[in-house]
């Protein structure tokens, strides 16, 4: 059935990585994603992967959870690797029937593979060690400087919070609607396409109507209590940078600089 759990990928814990400020972790992810696309050398990307695996151990996340992070793209990754491997022109290495594997194809598929693995693992690390609420606060705080350019950071955080609150309610409602229709003989799983389209009508329409009715009620309630958009507001748990955050940010910059120098210098297995 439908299942949208609202703690998402978060794995509660008390490791060093869990205790970092969400903003530090966001920044680390940004650095990792920048490096993933900046580097185009198998060995350099290998170093990066090693670094990400190290952080995973610090966070106390079991290697079997990696699958969780990689599952979404397995199909497309395999497809891309096949396309890269067999259809990149270049120096021939192996010939299997009508297909040729080239040196360039091999290197390209290695780069694509490492890039995706590093990117998905680092993104997974962020959401596995930080709860959605913490992430929302972190996001709001990070977007704040863009407020002067008209970015409504407070409203974005509010939208996220309201959506988080209503997902379980609407999930329940959708399940109830499906059961109600099924008990009246609706069959969501077989028959032709036009029948399926007809089945969706009594599901989507009440779901939308209920959602917008609730939205209307919430708007009236908030207006009646004098909620003002953009009014100054406090936090139950304010975010705070500590020594370990500064250390982590410093390490981030150091590593990023090292990689940039490594690439521009062009040395250290430049052949790949």
């Amino acid at each position: 059935m439908i299942n949208v759990n609202t703690i998402g990928q978060y794995i509660p814990g008390n490791s060093l990585i869990h205790r970092l400020d969400p903003r530090t972790k966001f920044f680390t992810l940004l650095v990792a994603v920048f490096l993933v696309f900046f580097l185009d050398n198998l060995v350099h990307l290998g170093f990066l992967l090693f670094g990400v695996i190290l952080v995973t151990f610090l966070a106390g996340i079991k290697p079997k959870m990696f699958w969780q992070a990689l599952k979404p793209v397995v199909f497309i990754l395999v497809l891309a690797l096949i396309l890269q491997l067999f259809f990149t022109p270049g120096e021939k290495l192996i010939t299997i029937g009508p297909f040729k594997i080239t040196r360039e194809g091999l290197i390209n598929s290695g780069i694509v593979f490492l890039r995706l693995v590093v990117m998905l693992l680092s993104a997974y690390l962020l959401t596995a060690t930080t709860s959605p609420t913490e992430l929302t606060h972190g996001l709001e705080s990070l977007l704040k400087p863009f407020g002067r350019f008209g970015l409504p950071y407070g409203e974005i955080a509010l939208m996220l919070t309201i959506a988080l609150r209503f997902i379980p309610t609407l999930t329940e409602e959708a399940e109830r609607l499906i059961k109600a229709q099924e008990s009246r003989g609706a069959d969501f799983y077989t028959r032709g396409l036009s029948k399926k389209a007809q089945m969706m009508l009594p599901l989507i329409i009440p779901l939308f109507i209920n959602a917008f009715k609730r939205a209307d009620e919430l708007a009236v309630a908030m207006e009646a209590r004098g909620y003002r958009i953009g009014a100054p507001r406090g936090k139950l748990k304010p975010l705070k940078f500590t020594a370990k955050d500064y250390l982590f940010l410093f390490l981030n910059l150091l590593i990023a600089m090292l990689f940039v120098i490594l690439k521009l210098w062009g040395g250290f297995p430049a052949k790949f």
């Binding site: 497309i76 998905l120 996220l160 997902i167 999930t171 209307d216 207006e223």
Partner: protein, 179 residues
């Protein structure tokens, strides 16, 4: 932004998250999720406001909730090969939403909005697919666009039908979305 915009956008994001989890198996084996219906209906009903709904939807996924199709979530999905399609939802919410508002929510505007949003979703989707997987554009289109065109046009047509019913039902229920 008004309180109403904030709340309607938030609820649109929540509805999209739920509908993306309802998959109807098709004879061909490709699951048919209701996610796109939420995108189109958001544009038809809320106009430009649907942009914020889609932004919220993407952020819900980014903070790790399994709100994308097949219960996927996390920033990795947005940055990954298929993330361009998701970013296309937000951009089409803005541009197609503007078209719908400009044409005063009439049918012709909505049809144009479907075409424009599909173009936006395909373009961004293809560019990101090609870039992340280092594929030439022609291959990215063959893998990520061509097989889906007939289904998406069909979904657009069904969404137009649903929107007419929904607008009638909403005015009966006394909910005013744009006023």
């Amino acid at each position: 932004m008004t309180i109403r915009t904030v709340i309607y956008a938030a609820l649109l994001a929540a509805v999209t998250a739920v509908l993306a989890q309802i998959a109807i198996p098709l004879p061909g084996g490709v699951p048919f999720t209701l996610q796109v219906f939420a995108v189109f209906l958001g544009i038809f009903l809320l106009g430009k406001k649907s942009f914020w709904g889609m932004v919220t939807y993407l952020l819900l996924g980014a903070v790790g909730l399994p709100v994308f199709a097949q219960a996927r979530g996390g920033i990795g999905v947005i940055l990954g090969p298929t993330g361009g399609y998701l970013l296309g939802f937000a951009l089409s919410g803005l541009i197609a939403g503007y078209i719908v508002e400009f044409t005063n929510f009439n049918l012709r505007g909505k049809i144009l909005a479907v075409v424009v949003s599909l173009l936006i979703i395909y373009s961004l989707g293809t560019i990101q697919l090609a870039y992340v997987l280092k594929l030439p554009l022609s291959k990215a289109i063959a893998v990520g666009v061509t097989p889906f065109i007939p289904w998406d046009i069909l979904k657009g047509a069904i969404a137009l039908l649903l929107a007419t019913h929904l607008q009638k039902a909403l005015s009966t229920a006394g909910v005013k979305l744009n006023g």
